[in-house]
């Protein structure tokens, strides 16, 4: 299997890479849960959570810059929370007007906005570390460990296996369109046809992608049958957790619970 540009996994041999995937998975979920439960304005807790995830990033040897760059993805959505600054009723910090509109920034609104921003930034970093340090088969093992139904995990697995094939297929379709429909990146030169025509072309590309997927899945099914598939999805039993691993998971969860209690006791 060739390394695909879509796959975020980065191989390595760090402590984080070697950790049992089930533990990574559960601790990541716990971490995101705690970040989400942390009350608005509990700044020291946010700083602690941030330093935890930052040290995990350093331990994972993925490169802090890499993780931070990927985490920029979350920033666009922050726009959805922006109006909260102006609409929460509280002590007014600043009033300014733009044209005919007057905006008032309130303290509670600002605190709420910054908290939402920090929560989502911290959470996305945890998710990035998990995805970048754990190969997909190990993630599937973690999914089975938390009792996600076998059929669903099997669909996940097959999707992952053919994702790269179909992504390449989609890229080929787009290259073919690029070559034939007079598109130019040059400023001022219009792309070919009307918007409706372009939408129709894209639709037929999607249709042919779906048709190819249907036909491919027929072939895959035949290949599976000829190799002894009996309509039953099986998987190797999960390996046992080592003693160190249970220690890490208990320690990690305790730390998270402690942080959460700290946050709720002092800031809720």
């Amino acid at each position: 299997m060739h390394v695909h540009f879509l796959d975020p996994y980065r191989s390595g041999n760090s402590l984080v890479h070697r950790l049992d995937p089930r533990i990574k998975f559960i601790l990541t979920l716990g971490f995101i849960l705690v970040a989400s439960l942390t009350p608005v304005g509990a700044w020291p807790v946010y700083i602690l959570l941030f330093s935890i995830i930052l040290s995990v990033e350093v331990l994972s040897e993925l490169g802090v810059r890499y993780v931070l760059k990927r985490s920029m993805l979350a920033f666009l959505f922050v726009l959805a929370a922006l109006p909260v600054i102006f609409t929460t009723a509280d002590r007014i910090i600043l009033t300014f007007s733009l044209g005919t509109w007057t905006f008032t920034i309130t303290q509670a609104g600002l605190e709420r906005f910054i908290s939402i921003f920090l929560k989502s930034w911290i959470s996305i970093q945890a998710a990035i570390v998990l995805a970048s340090s754990t190969p997909f088969p190990e993630l599937m093992m973690a999914m089975r460990a938390i009792r996600i139904p076998r059929l669903l995990v099997a669909i996940f697995g097959l999707m992952w296996r053919y994702l790269f094939v179909l992504a390449d297929e989609a890229l080929r379709l787009m290259r073919a369109r690029l070559a034939r429909s007079g598109h130019s990146d040059q400023v001022g030169l219009k792309p070919g046809g009307s918007v409706w025509w372009r939408a129709g072309v894209t639709g037929r590309m999607a249709g042919s992608l779906f048709l190819r997927a249907f036909e491919r899945s027929d072939r895959i099914y035949m290949a599976m049958i000829s190799r002894g598939y009996d309509r039953e999805v099986r998987a190797a039993p999960l390996p046992k957790l080592r003693g160190v691993d249970s220690l890490i998971i208990v320690g990690g969860l305790l730390l998270l619970v402690f942080l959460l209690l700290f946050a709720i006791l002092f800031w809720a």
């Binding site: 540009f5 879509l6 796959d7 989400s36 439960l37 009350p39 993805l73 666009l76 959505f77 959805a80 929370a81 909260v84 609409t87 939402i116 989502s120 930034w121 996305i124 998710a127 995805a131 997909f136 993630l139 059929l151 669903l152 099997a154 996940f156 697995g157 097959l158 992952w160 994702l163 179909l166 992504a167 890229l171 379709l173 787009m174 792309p191 918007v195 409706w196 372009r198 939408a199 129709g200 072309v201 894209t202 639709g203 037929r204 999607a206 249709g207 992608l209 779906f210 048709l211 190819r212 997927a213 249907f214 899945s217 895959i220 099914y221 599976m224 309509r231 999805v233 709720i264 809720a268």
Partner: protein, 322 residues
């Protein structure tokens, strides 16, 4: 340029941190129940024979989201695929396929959060699929299985499923106290009304090609799906609730913000979780709101009668055919 859908998160995928914990949990529960039921249905109706088809189609939807077209200037329309998959694969399998797509987007590509995944699966899986199914089967039946029914139904299913899913996402943000209703609802509704047109056009284009090349794939849907009636009603109810609740919420933001505060209360575990649900049906209702709801209920009644009439005439026609 090819990567743009991956590098720019789609507005419908809610990241972590934007939903309050009770909203996350409630929508996780909805999603888990739906996924469990779909698994059961798929196991019973199709067997695990469909596993490769669902896996590969999930990959196709994911890859299909790379396909985009230039609308104007730097903006481009692209494709989500819930409606097309519902038409081709049937609703229950599509719920699993969309769950897989949204799950991989969150888990691997951080497009949408992990804790918020329940809500995202609810919006794009359950709501998208149920609304598509409801709209497509209704129009398809109404057309008497003619060709135009497939295309009109496909466009309407694609557009409405995007729009209603966006409304669901907006209301989840409002309920979490993350975004004020009078801004989030019109903004999401407005953006997705346009995105939905792109989705509709792509879906029609795809259906045209598939209808020409493999008409058998589109015809599968003519056979009634087991459990389809329940989903049809579900799609109708979801569409109506959201279509009624959203203007209400944006006209009375105070009401919903009050609920959000109450829920902030609940977040610190001071009240039983189940109290949330009766809470947000009623707050801040004035006469105007009551009128809207009444209008909505009359609407439900009319649509229901209409649908029953269509179903009845169809049944009669089948009887005379036999």
């Amino acid at each position: 340029m090819f990567l743009s859908p991956f590098l720019s998160p789609q507005p419908m995928h809610i990241p972590d941190g934007f939903l309050s914990i009770s909203v996350s949990i409630v929508f996780w529960l909805f999603s888990i129940i739906t996924i469990g039921y779909s698994l059961k249905r798929v196991n019973r109706d199709l067997g695990e024979r469909q596993v490769p088809l669902m896996g590969v189609l999930a990959a196709a939807i994911f890859a299909g989201q790379m396909l985009n077209f230039v609308v104007a200037g730097g903006t481009s329309g692209h494709f989500m695929g819930a409606a097309l998959a519902t038409i081709l694969l049937g609703p229950w399998a599509t719920i699993l396929v969309m769950t897989t797509v949204v799950g991989v987007q969150a888990l691997i590509f951080q497009d949408g959060g992990l804790l918020a995944l329940g809500a995202n699966i609810f919006n794009m899986g359950l709501v998208g699929v149920a609304v598509s199914y409801f709209v497509f089967t209704t129009i398809h039946r109404f057309s008497g299985g003619k060709r135009w029914g497939i295309f009109v139904g496909g466009f309407a299913a694609a557009w409405l499923s995007i729009e209603i899913a966006a409304l669901a996402a907006a209301l989840e943000l409002v309920l979490s106290g993350t975004s004020p209703a009078n801004i989030a609802v019109p903004a999401m509704a407005g953006i997705h009304a346009l995105i939905g047109i792109g989705e509709g056009l792509i879906t029609v284009g795809a259906l045209a090609l598939i209808y020409a090349a493999r008409p058998d794939l589109v015809k599968v849907q003519k056979e009634p799906q087991a459990g389809g009636a329940a989903l049809w009603v579900g799609g109708l109810i979801i569409a109506l609730i959201l279509a009624i609740a959203s203007p209400l919420a944006s006209a009375h933001p105070d009401g919903l913000e009050w609920v959000a505060e109450q829920k902030g209360f609940l977040d610190s575990a001071q009240g039983p979780l189940y109290e949330i649900i009766p809470d947000y049906v009623l707050p801040g209702i004035s006469n105007e709101a009551l009128a809207t709801i009444l209008a909505g209920m009359i609407g439900i009644f009319i649509i229901f009668c209409f649908a029953l009439a269509v179903a009845y005439s169809r049944k009669n026609r089948q009887n005379t055919n036999v």
